[in-house]
Amino acid sequence: MTPVILSTDALLFLLLAGVAAFVWHARRHEHLRRPWRHVARSNIGMATAVILLAYVSLGVLDSMHFESRGGMASDDIISLFDVVASDLRERQEKTYSAPFSAWLYTKETLELPDGRVARGYPRLKWGGASLDDPLAERAADIARRALLGLLQALALSAVVYLPLAWSRGRRQRVAVPAMLRGFFIERRGETAWPAFNITLVALLLCGFVMASLAGEYHLFGTDKVGEDVFYQALKSIRTGLLIGTLTTLVMLPAALFLGILAGYFRGWVDDLVQYLYTTLSSIPGVLLIAAAILMLQVYMSEHAEEFNSLVQRADLRLLFLCVILGITSWTTLCRLLRGETLKLRELEYVQAAQAFGVRGLTIISRHILPNTMHIVLISIVLDFSGLVLAEAVLAYVNIGVDPTMNSWGNMINSARLELAREPIVWWSLAAAFVFMFVLVLAANLFADVVRDAFDPRLGRGRG
């Protein structure tokens, strides 16, 4: 169990640390807290925050890698999530099977007990394996397991919320039922806790029911080689999150540095930076990405001995994809920052600081940088969903993440072919759709709230 930190893991943790530091810093500065309180007041903001947090925690869980011994020799690096979901990972069938099915989706030659040979649907190795007669028992079994999951989730919520209500209630001299009412129905104070709590409980219910069912069935069926589609969809979360966040993180330093430099110093610096980003943004993005990905492949095949692990190769490609997506998208942010800096440097206190002979870099770091932060933040949140969607499109052109990596784009790409089958195999597409849609929708809604909170005017024109 030696921990392995892949390069994208490291960046993700760096990002988390950055967020944590920001939170710690913001707690003590009223002007930084104010917009966030605005977010917390919004029902949609709180509800989507819960969903995003759930995705993020799955993604983080999937980013803690370590070397594994035993099992298949090839799965050399696995993540904490893989361990948690080892049931899902290891229960491989032979080929396609429908959601909740107990049989394979294709007919095979079966040897009947009396020695005769017939064509039929063989039973699955894992899905519904505990049932003797799935036809008769399956519906009841599914209901029973769903109910069990439901009860577990309710029990957990009770364990969390009842003591909380009790202790809070005692302090505020409010009865427990009234306290619970406050948690879930009536909003007290500014923060939209009911939205938060309701979403959380709903999410718990979903999660537990799914987990309980996934213990016996393939919730979203299996794919061509019998891998559980539910597992693939969950694994894809990390890919989506990383593309959505790391891309912005990677491009941030360049965009900040150049944008502010151009806006502050103007003159030839400004010309140079403008030339740089106009040139870059005038190259069609897809072509730039295609060239870069091909380049990476060449590099990797020339240095094959350095990338022996499949996971590491895929990881490097993901990182590279983030970098190149960053290069194609930093120009917008850079332009915005330049414009904002141009405005800020005319402000009186900046002019005053200049008059006092304060050095340029000091002015930038004291006065300008902090005041452009809201632009950075908004652009991070706004770009997120677009990047997640872009991943799917790139996979179609074969220049997305590594084909061995789980991602929604890869799932959709292979599901395209499955749609032509008859009977049609729809579950891979459905699973990718559901998981991607929930994330993107939540991100879009959350981004709206954040934008409104920070700067109601700025989001204009970005839809």
């Binding site: 069609p284 060239a291 091909l294 969903s385 959709i412 879009n444």
Partner: protein, 325 residues
């Protein structure tokens, strides 16, 4: 005005040179001319002489960026980079690596791209403006709320799903339109229906939301309030003032993308087998036909810059207060 345009055009030249250098470096790091030759000569039984003569014929036997064997100007001019780039600036795209005239191909494939992009843009614009105007009209009612929610939901769905779903439903299940393909002349119409519908639907979400904010912003302005105070009816206000003024940012936004319509849509064209510039580009990437990719990058950059210039001009046309300097 003329002076400004000329200056902008001159300013485009260093940008295009930069674009050329970037693509050139990227693609030749990937592919040595040897690789390209091998790719184009096929798989079975390729001899080294065949590769050499292919390279000679396509002008890839020269050094890439500088020619150490020559002195003076030829140090830079007798190279693959210079030979190929200079021609681009004169509008001569040369021959593709498989031996076809790229300029001719582009002039042929431009029309299918436009045949999809222009109707998609116009129909999309009409629908988006109508819907967003309606939302603005019903602002602060539950209709507005659900309209915005629907818009967000629609823009959260990957465009791939629209394409896959549309093809499956209209083409396969309902037999309403051909599943894919293209034809020339009027018979192209039946092939265009589905791609255009999908293109429009895919753009509704973000379009409606953006236009709605534009309308709302306009509604919040003083002159609208004045107009209303004068006792003008809601509809008169909407169409007489709000729509007219909000159209300015909408149309200038459209002007930016106008030239890029030529480039076509990568996804839709390759899904529906439409022989436009988008699928041309994708094919070139897959076949690693560097000459085509370089030409398309160049064309894309030229059109992008053209879009920027057109936008600036259109600003001055609609708003005399803006001066170009």
């Amino acid at each position: 005005m003329m002076a400004y345009i000329i200056r902008r055009v001159l300013y485009a030249i260093p940008i295009l040179i930069g674009v050329n250098i970037i693509t050139f470096v990227l693609f030749f790091v990937v592919n040595s001319p040897d690789d390209m030759a091998r790719l184009h000569l096929g798989v079975k039984r390729v001899t080294p002489e065949a590769i050499q003569s292919w390279k000679r014929e396509h002008g890839y036997d020269k050094p890439l960026l500088y020619n150490a064997g020559r002195s003076g100007v030829a140090f830079l001019t007798d190279t693959i980079f210079f030979q190929n780039s200079v021609k681009l600036f004169s509008g001569d795209f040369g021959l593709s690596d498989s031996g076809r005239d790229i300029g001719y191909d582009i002039s042929q494939r431009m029309w299918p791209s436009l045949a999809i992009a222009v109707p998609t843009l116009l129909v999309g614009l009409a629908i988006n403006i109508t819907l967003s105007l309606m939302l603005a009209l019903f602002r602060a009612t539950y209709l507005d709320f659900w309209g915005v929610v629907t818009a967000v939901v629609m823009m959260s769905i990957s465009s791939l799903f629209y394409i896959i779903g549309g093809q499956f439903l209209l083409g396969k299940l309902l037999h309403l339109v051909p599943i894919s393909g293209y034809d020339t002349g009027w018979s192209a119409l039946k092939f265009l229906v589905l791609p255009v519908i999908i293109g429009v639907i895919g753009g509704i979400g973000s379009g409606v939301r953006w236009y709605r904010t534009l309308f709302l912003e306009e509604i919040g302005k003083d002159y609208v309030r004045t107009a209303r105070a004068k006792g003008l009816g809601e509809l008169r206000v909407m169409f007489g003032h709000v729509l007219r003024n909000a159209l300015i940012p909408i149309l200038t936004g459209v002007v930016v993308v106008l030239p890029l319509l030529f480039m076509g849509s990568l996804l839709i064209e390759s899904f529906f087998g439409i022989p436009g510039l988008g699928s041309y580009t994708i094919d070139a990437i897959n076949r690693q036909d560097f000459a085509i990719v370089r030409s398309m990058v160049f064309l894309g950059s030229v059109l992008y810059i053209l879009g920027l210039i057109l936008t600036d001009i259109s600003y001055t046309l609609v708003d005399p207060r803006v001066r170009l300097s």
